[in-house]
């Protein structure tokens, strides 16, 4: 069922969407042709995911129109959009872990499939059509990430989808699995199915997209045929400003060894040893699930990990729990701000003061005036935008919430500051302020371990980068000298890196 390449399957016209404090999408317009792979690139926070959630009916748009397959779509639910032939494969996969593969593909359509037998038979057919060999009776919780993705694709096909949106599908795939995905994408294209492929990896975009749109700060900057873009042009359009504007000058104040870590071993981590120097920002690079977070959690005593040795300034230090870590001079910004970092209904002040209770208490009694000072001091120092220190931290924007956590640890004057995705989901301005803070910390003798999924962030802020792949350190790089490809290669486990 080949059709003319010029036919438009999806037309997005002037769609806008605001969240409290942020304009996520501003007058976005994109046309997607039938039977093409349409790439959408942009940095985190550019509005790609918001746009997709509007298309799939998770969010409702504020204004603008969306025409899909000749019909205007308005206030749909995710299910309605799937039925109309528009399927989306999310970054965070959308499967029920406790159910079987077959049932997941036909979730909520048990009757339609005439029972369990029909469900599994049809599911088998679909999986076979994309050359996926996973048993349909296996539980989804037992699948690997790429297998889950195949199941999602099968689910999308089960709706006879005309358009499939893939939201950063490659972020956790190995290169082999990626080849498989490319094959399937080409196969779908031949069947006349359109694909919107969202990514921030330029290699993939240049490999198999036909048309590319660049998004930045809620706008579509440009839409062109792939061949009309040069790589440099694409990067410039994505970033929109020169690198110097986005990151403060790299701090250069690396001193002597501050901490040595010897042989962390867990089920996921294998004999990890590294050092951290005074005044250094050490970047940890790797795929999601490579073990980056596990390393710092083990270091901080957040998980029960035994057997490794930590020397701080040459002295052996035992860290059994976060309290020991705090006493040893660690600070910690956890990966998930809302679940692990903040107490949302509590005030800004108590969220800031909670790591330094000892500082404002005497003989076990609180001295609230001192606590008030601490709150006010950090709010001022970090320029937290809040009506008052008594405001519930829930009411603040993401960036200001993150600053509260930074402030909490600044108050303890940490020597070793662990930051796990410190700029996730916060706006550009707040990001820059956090970068400046990092600079401030290392310039005053502290050291930072930085984990980030954003490659430019790691490359521009770190003095040294360690690449992690499947729980092992696969390389150590100087980001000022090494090429991006070298570092990415080591992070993807392709080549062993060296300084």
């Amino acid at each position: 069922m080949k059709t003319e390449g010029s036919e438009v399957i999806l037309s997005i016209n002037n769609v806008s969407k605001s969240f409290p404090g942020v304009k996520a999408l501003d007058e976005v317009s994109i046309d997607v042709q039938r039977g093409t792979v349409h790439g959408i690139v942009g940095e985190n926070g550019a509005g790609k995911s918001t746009l997709m959630k509007i298309l799939s009916g998770v969010y409702q748009k504020d204004s603008g129109t969306v025409v899909f397959d000749g019909k205007q779509i308005e206030h749909t639910t995710p299910y309605q959009s799937m039925q109309s032939g528009l399927a989306i494969i999310y970054q965070e996969l959308n499967l029920v872990n406790t159910m079987s593969v077959g049932e997941n593909i036909f979730l909520g359509r048990f009757r339609e499939m005439k029972g369990m037998k029909g469900t599994h038979a049809k599911a088998r057919e679909l999986l076979d059509s994309i050359a996926c060999k996973v048993s349909t009776t296996k539980l989804v919780s037992e699948l690997s990430v790429s297998e889950k993705q195949m199941v999602e694709i099968a689910k999308a096909l089960s709706f006879k989808s005309k358009l499939i949106i893939m939201d950063e599908p490659s972020s956790s795939l190995t290169s082999e699995e990626m080849c498989q995905l490319v094959k399937i994408i080409n196969q779908l294209k031949e069947q006349g199915i359109s694909i919107i492929y969202i990514s921030h990896k330029l290699d993939e975009i240049f490999e198999f997209c036909d048309i590319v749109s660049v998004m930045r700060d809620g706008h579509v900057i440009d839409t062109k045929e792939k061949s009309a873009f040069t790589r440099q042009e694409l990067i410039t359009k994505m970033v929109g400003r020169t690198i110097e504007n986005e990151y403060p000058p790299r701090p250069l104040c690396v001193g002597d060894t501050l901490m040595e870590v010897h042989s962390i071993n867990t089920h996921k981590l294998h004999d990890l040893s590294f050092t951290l120097n005074k005044g250094e920002i050490l970047g940890l690079m790797g795929l999601v699930g490579a073990g980056r977070t596990e390393i710092v959690r083990a270091l901080f005593g957040a998980d029960k990990v035994r057997g490794h040795r930590v020397l701080i300034e040459g002295k052996p230090t035992v860290i059994r729990n976060p309290k020991d870590a705090k006493d040893a001079g660690f600070g910690f910004i956890p990966e998930d701000r809302k679940l692990q970092g903040l107490i949302l209904p509590f005030s800004v002040e108590s969220n800031i003061s909670m790591a330094s209770i000892r500082k404002f208490s005497r003989l076990g009694f609180l001295r609230k005036s001192l606590e008030k000072d601490i709150g006010a001091r950090q709010v001022k120092a970090l320029a937290v935008k809040t009506p008052s220190t008594k405001t519930a931290v829930r009411n603040l924007s993401g960036g200001n919430q993150q600053k509260c956590i930074v402030g909490r640890w600044m108050e303890t004057s940490p020597r070793i500051f662990i930051m796990d995705e410190p700029t996730k989901g916060i706006d550009v301005g707040a990001k820059y302020e956090i970068y400046n803070l990092m600079k401030h910390i290392v310039e005053h003798g502290g050291a930072i371990i930085l984990i980030s999924s954003e490659l430019p962030e790691v490359l521009n802020m770190s003095n040294r980068v360690l690449t992690i792949f499947e729980g092992r350190i696969t390389g150590e790089f100087d980001p000022q000298k090494a090429s991006v490809n070298e570092i990415m290669g080591a992070a993807l486990g392709i080549v062993e890196g060296c300084v």
Partner: protein, 324 residues
Amino acid sequence: MQKRNSVLKVTASMLRDYLVLVMIALLVAVTAIVEPKFMSGANLVNIMRQFGPLIMVSLGMTFVIIGGFIDLSVAGTINLVAVVTISLIQPLGQVPALLVGLLIGAVCGALNSGVILSSGALTQAEALFLTFGMSTVYSALALLYSHGSTMHFWDIQKSKSIFEAIGAGRAGPLPLSFVIFLVILALLWIFQTKTTEGRAISLTGGNKTAAHLSGVNISRAIVVVYTICGFMAGVGAIVLFSRITTAAPVIGAGYETNAILSVVVGGTTLKGGKGSVLRTVMGVLLVILMSNCLDLLGVSTYLQVVVKGAILVVAIWLDNRKQA
């Protein structure tokens, strides 16, 4: 327009926050009009006396709920403490008996926290079932210890003046048990709002993971809240059997739900983190006033249970809506 809206909003949230005060005022007004006896000195003293056991248990429960957990074992603890304490007055004398009773309460509470910590239970639901099981064990111990029989004050030959004073004595115009309550309330209020451990408890209840990752000792907070709860259940047991001068091994039945009821009605949220012992006092006051009022109106005790159940359901429902 915007401003008026926000004023309205603030008033509405204040009203919802202090709904319990409004209800207390309404209840007092209505009952005083319908039944003039209500405002008599004798009835007021009676109300103060009724504060006795329930307020003690509820104050302890407040800490567990602020800490983000729940304790169904107070009924079992009360049973055990009551029968053991009363039986020890004869052989040991009253002061050691009193101390042993309080100790047993605290140990029961600490044991609960031990079970919870060792199992790694993090949710209220898990704590609910674990403490229910512990309650059954404590109750069974009480039954075994007392052979299921009720013990009476008049069987005790030795001096039991302390217990008689707690049960019926007066300090000036106030019942002695009410004075004890005021002292304990003051201590617990200071503990909750002015000490580091009190802060650690509310941080734990607010978000266990975040508190843990900020170096707060959440295990200690859990031990402390359950030990306080067990200890206060012990105090409640002593106040209870002193007042009724007998102790049966089933004396504590229903106290767990009544205590939860008082805490939630007072406005301490079941989601943990936020709440106050003072709010619990208001909650207990409301529960007592209500049963006092229903008594005066001649409503059967059974129907009162229905009313209490209904209030509990509505209070939890409102608490949930407030948080959402």
